[in-house]
Symmetry: C2
Subunit: 212 residues, 2 copies
């Protein structure tokens, strides 16, 4: 094969791979929405296909099996979810502003992306039963922890203090609050959500210690 022909074939192969990956991603996104709607326990391949523009058979053309598909969907979740607060950190110039904008973003995404968030907790819990999810869950959980840590440590910095707990503890505290707010959100208990919102600034302050 000449060099030119070889390069051409490469280009073709790459384009095919790109197309393949693009469709995979498209189907993974449809999967993500279905999972967010129904939860892991009630999500079937036919239901996923109905949330896409294809028939159910195509899923086995692009994915080895259901696990492969859901794993890919989880990875899509990560892409969406894990840089949410970075802009807040980057643009805030005072501690008070950072805290306020974090709280605002926190409850904004709670209301906006509630179905997606409940899916995250669903999958994280599934990973307690199904080993095959664990690696991805741990990775995403780590990224979430990092994200929270960037916020809190920056807040401490702006405040001239230090975080008072480890990254892990800091994360689970805020994550716990989010989980509870989510539960009350779906219960329709707006008062409880509002109360959590009122309390959140004080909790953040608990997580940092002012120095002298």
């Amino acid at each position: 094969m000449t060099e030119v022909a070889s390069r051409k074939q490469d280009r073709i192969a790459r384009r095919q791979v790109d197309k393949f990956d693009a469709r995979r991603t498209e189907l993974a996104v449809a999967t993500l929405h279905t999972l967010a709607d129904l939860g892991y326990a009630r999500t079937s391949l036919r239901e996923i296909a109905q949330n896409s523009e294809f028939s159910h058979g195509v899923l086995h053309y692009y994915f080895a099996d259901k696990r492969d598909l859901i794993t890919e969907a989880v990875r899509q979740y990560e892409v969406v979810c894990v840089t949410r607060y970075d802009e807040v950190v980057a643009t805030s110039t005072t501690a008070e502003q950072l805290r306020a904008e974090f709280v605002a973003m926190f409850f904004d995404t709670l209301g906006q992306d509630a179905p997606l968030h409940r899916l995250w907790y669903d999958l994280r819990t599934q990973s307690l039963f199904d080993e095959s999810f664990r690696a991805d869950v741990l990775e995403i959980d780590g990224h979430r922890e990092d994200m929270v840590w960037r916020v809190v440590s920056r807040y401490a910095e702006l405040l001239g203090g230090m975080p008072s707990a480890s990254p892990g503890t800091t994360y689970v505290t805020l994550d716990g609050i989010f989980q509870r707010a989510l539960l009350h959100h779906f219960t329709g208990n707006a008062d409880a959500v509002a109360r959590l919102r009122t309390e959140l600034p004080a909790v953040i302050d608990l997580l940092v210690t002012k120095v002298g």
Copy 2:
């Protein structure tokens, strides 16, 4: 009907009800174990029956449907789970002792009843998707919050201080730590669990404020 006959019939009726309830409870416990083993998504009635000494048909003799059965199982969980720390609170005479015994109990039940605990988180997450679980979940969550509050407020009392966060925030913080410890427990990451154990006393101290 004579009074004697009436009373006798009452006694019989009561005995029948007792037997009926006893069997219901027995089957609910079998259900609980199956759920703890497999998780909500993978638990079927036939599997539950295999974990009992009966056949699958009997479940519809004692329960209206699957939801009824699982609801009863969740209630069983509550009976088991919600008074766990009360003895610690009752017998501890110093703040340090209370804190130490709480931490010990915390990680003891983590190792001992791990499957049951993951089930709790599974069902709580299911309630985000399935409205019919929500009432029971909220009730149990409330009892767990009360339980944690009894511990922390008593700790503050012994320390001569006050809780620094609301009952809700206090609960979600410790619950978040428990959830994370559970995840690492099932991952087999004993180091991470040990680290959480080391940090837990400091977190508890964060949750109370000494009064000058």
